[in-house]
């Protein structure tokens, strides 16, 4: 390895631009410049120096800030593309996604779907982009923070003339009372909370060095944030499921290993009422017709006790009653149940009367529980109705056969066999909502529809997120880094005696005006002249 030995005796790593110790310009190209590039203190960014093995090449790729910026730009564009049309998870389940996009958005929709943008945020290339940003963050930071730390730690008080000359704030004064001037300036700088180091009569005042670590602290926060996001993929860390539950129903809560059960006692939807509620709502009610005020599920949480296997009548112990409202979830262990959706008036029971079609006389009522219909309903006196077939969600299939679309009683239909003293062999009648078919000719009797009983169904989100605190921690560290880098400045002021002259130079990573004011205050009353801002001088010359 070609290490560079400076004339001050300090040995610098290969690629160093400014000697870590005395600041002498080591690279020829840099010598031609009027002002130094002070980024990373002219330290050797390792990535830029070795390029040997495959590992080095990968490392150097990710170490480039330019690559990092491009990765962020591409990710931003990709993220924006994903918002043009709704993602697959948000489209209504009316038809397959492949058809839906073309149907709704024409050829653009088709292209969007074909390119896989309907699932953009979980696509492999999007994840790789995010992961690459993470890798870039780690490697960029490592490659810069270590040399920077070295350079700031190794810096000596007496900096080389070529270093001081090329600082943006620099000035030379010829004075006699040097010692006195130095003592005065030192006191003033101490008042301004500078750390003072002295060496051979030269002076370095420095403060706010920790502000230089701000960006790296910030990156550590981001990386923790990304790790939190990654942990969501680890089984058991993150749950996001939907539980549909009817009034009166008791269901096992998913992802709780069958430990917890929930009973929905009642679902309540309240709307604003002109009569009862404050009149400020009147206008909105007139405009919208109906405005929801509250969505609420009254539930009871049960915990299974004992070792009942799945399906066995579990011994349930009541944990608590709770009223779940929007943003007021039921919490237990690491789970939270949120109100997320509902369905009003799902059919629950239907009542019929066995009726003589001609006379209209009724021979008894029967009520069918759609979630537990019986085989037959005996109405007494030789009258009986038997259910031959039951279709909870009835439709005719392509062959014209009655079938059910699902197990949910959205559109119930029955095939009844009616037994009466007149027809002991029974008459067949197909009964659906607003529809009666008598497949074997005219019947004498019919099942007259009497009424329905409905139930509400509530949908709850079952949520568990053990990664939240990691993400919050990452966010907090991120903000600490931002504050550290933004609200503090790293300021350095050098005073050096050179052949009866006093050279003053200053450097800050931001807010040059503040630095100059402090130098001005420190030199006030001494015979040392205020140094000039060489950058300002240059631009004034040009202008």
């Amino acid at each position: 390895m070609n290490e560079v030995k400076c004339e001050c005796g300090h040995v610098n790593p290969h690629g160093t631009v400014l000697c870590e110790s005395c600041g002498k310009v080591l690279e020829e190209k840099e010598k031609e410049k009027k002002l130094l590039d002070m980024r990373y203190e002219g330290s050797a960014r390792r990535s830029q120096t070795y390029n040997k093995t495959m590992i080095d090449k990968i490392w150097n790729f990710f170490s480039s800030v330019k690559v990092g910026v491009w990765l962020i730009v591409i990710t931003l564009i990709a993220s924006a593309l994903g918002t043009i049309l709704p993602q697959e998870m948000y489209i209504p389940p009316v038809m397959p996604a492949a058809e839906y996009y073309e149907d709704q958005y024409g050829w653009i929709g088709k292209v969007y779907y074909d390119l896989g943008f309907h699932n953009l945020y979980s696509s492999w290339w999007y994840l790789i982009l995010i992961a690459s940003i993470g890798i870039s963050l780690v490697i960029c930071s490592l490659d810069r923070v270590i040399p920077l730390y070295r350079a700031l730690k190794k810096q000596r008080v007496s900096r080389h003339e070529s270093y001081l000359q090329r600082q943006r704030v620099f000035g030379v004064s010829k004075i006699v009372e040097t010692d006195q001037a130095f003592t005065m300036a030192k006191e003033k700088l101490k008042e301004k909370k500078y750390n003072i180091r002295e060496e051979n009569g030269n002076l370095l005042a420095e403060k706010g060095r920790f502000s230089r670590w701000g960006p790296y602290v910030n990156h550590v926060g981001l990386i923790i944030f990304l790790i939190g996001g990654m942990l969501r993929f680890v089984p058991g860390m993150y749950v996001d499921k939907i539980l549909w539950i009817r009034e009166g129903e008791t269901k096992v809560i998913p992802e709780t290993n069958g430990e917890y059960y929930l009973k929905n006692e009642k679902f309540i939807l309240e709307v604003y009422d002109k009569e009862k509620d404050n009149e400020v709502f009147d206008e909105a009610i007139d405009k919208a017709g109906m405005v929801a005020k509250n969505y609420q599920s009254n539930v009871t949480l049960y915990k299974k006790s004992g070792d009942a296997v799945a399906g066995e009548e579990a011994n349930l112990e009541k944990v608590k009653d709770f009223e779940i409202r929007v943003n007021e979830p039921l919490k237990f262990e690491n789970f939270a149940l949120y109100q997320v959706d509902y369905k009003l008036n799902e059919l629950n029971k239907m009542s019929f009367a066995l009726t003589n079609k001609k006379t209209g006389e009724e021979y008894g009522d029967l009520t069918v529980d759609l979630n537990d219909p019986q085989d037959a309903y005996d109405l007494g006196n030789g009258y009986k109705a038997e259910i031959v077939s039951f279709f909870p969600d009835f439709e005719f299939d392509e062959n014209g056969e009655p079938v059910t679309k699902s197990r949910i009683p959205n559109n119930p239909a029955f095939v009844f066999k009616m037994f009466t003293p007149d027809n002991p062999d029974g008459e067949i009648s197909f009964v659906a909502i607003r529809q009666t078919i008598e497949p074997f000719g005219d019947n004498e009797y019919k099942m007259a529809f009497k009424g329905v009983d409905t139930k509400n169904v509530s949908a709850l989100t079952v949520r568990k997120d053990l990664t939240l605190w990691i993400i919050a921690l990452g966010g907090a560290i991120f903000m600490i880094g931002v504050a550290q880098g933004s609200y503090w400045n790293h300021r350095r002021i050098w005073l050096r005696r050179v052949d009866g002259e006093v050279w003053v130079a200053g450097h800050t990573n931001k807010n040059w005006h503040g630095l100059k004011r402090e130098i001005d205050a420190a030199l006030d009353g001494t015979s040392i002249e205020m140094p000039e801002d060489q950058l300002q001088k240059q631009s004034e010359k040009k202008g």
């Binding site: 590992i55 992961a131 490697i139 399906g311 066995e312």
Partner: protein
């Protein structure tokens, strides 16, 4: 020095690469993650059949169990039922039991269905869904092949024809 640098860089890149690979893998398998993995012991359960008899999975240890989850509205389930019925008759004396778990429909619907196809294997109803939850059932039909030691040999989702059903039963024959 140079060697040390290479080692450090390699280690860091490997750690980062492993994290990325895991995330990608987890993301693409998250929809296929089975609660009950092949090679694991099938979770025990007790359900009651249409005749009122209790069936406990662990009672069938020593026999192969063809565990099928189905619903009456599910067309492929409906199609494979008669095949299962035929093969059940072949294999029940050879130590293969069929358990058809309905995913919580009404007794009436299940009874009528069973009568229509003259199904002879026991049909149990998972009313509130605990068994489906334990097995992580989503699309229907879903079938688990369980061997004589109670271990899951294979998980099949989607329709099966008679030949594959026969083949599967052959696989779990004790």
């Amino acid at each position: 020095m140079k060697k040390q640098r290479l080692v450090i860089r390699t280690v860091i890149l490997l750690v980062l690469g492993a994290a990325v690979a895991y995330t990608l893998y987890a993301n693409f398998t998250k929809d296929q993650v089975q609660k009950v993995a092949v090679g694991e012991k099938a979770p025990d359960f007790v359900l009651t059949d249409l005749e009122g008899n209790k069936h406990r999975l662990s009672d069938y240890e020593g026999q192969g169990v063809f565990l099928n989850f189905w619903g009456t509205w599910c067309k492929p389930c409906e199609k494979e039922m008669p095949y299962m019925n035929n093969q059940y008759k072949e294999f029940k004396d050879q130590g293969v039991q069929v358990l058809a778990v309905n995913v919580g429909e009404t007794d009436l619907a299940v009874n009528k269905f069973s009568d229509r196809y003259n199904l002879s294997f026991p049909i149990v109803i998972d009313k509130d869904g605990p068994v489906q939850s334990a097995y992580g059932i989503n699309p229907l039909p879903a079938t688990f092949l369980i061997d004589k030691d109670g271990k899951v040999v294979k998980y099949i989702t989607g329709e099966m024809n008679e030949a594959t059903i026969k083949d599967y039963m052959e696989q779990i024959k004790p």
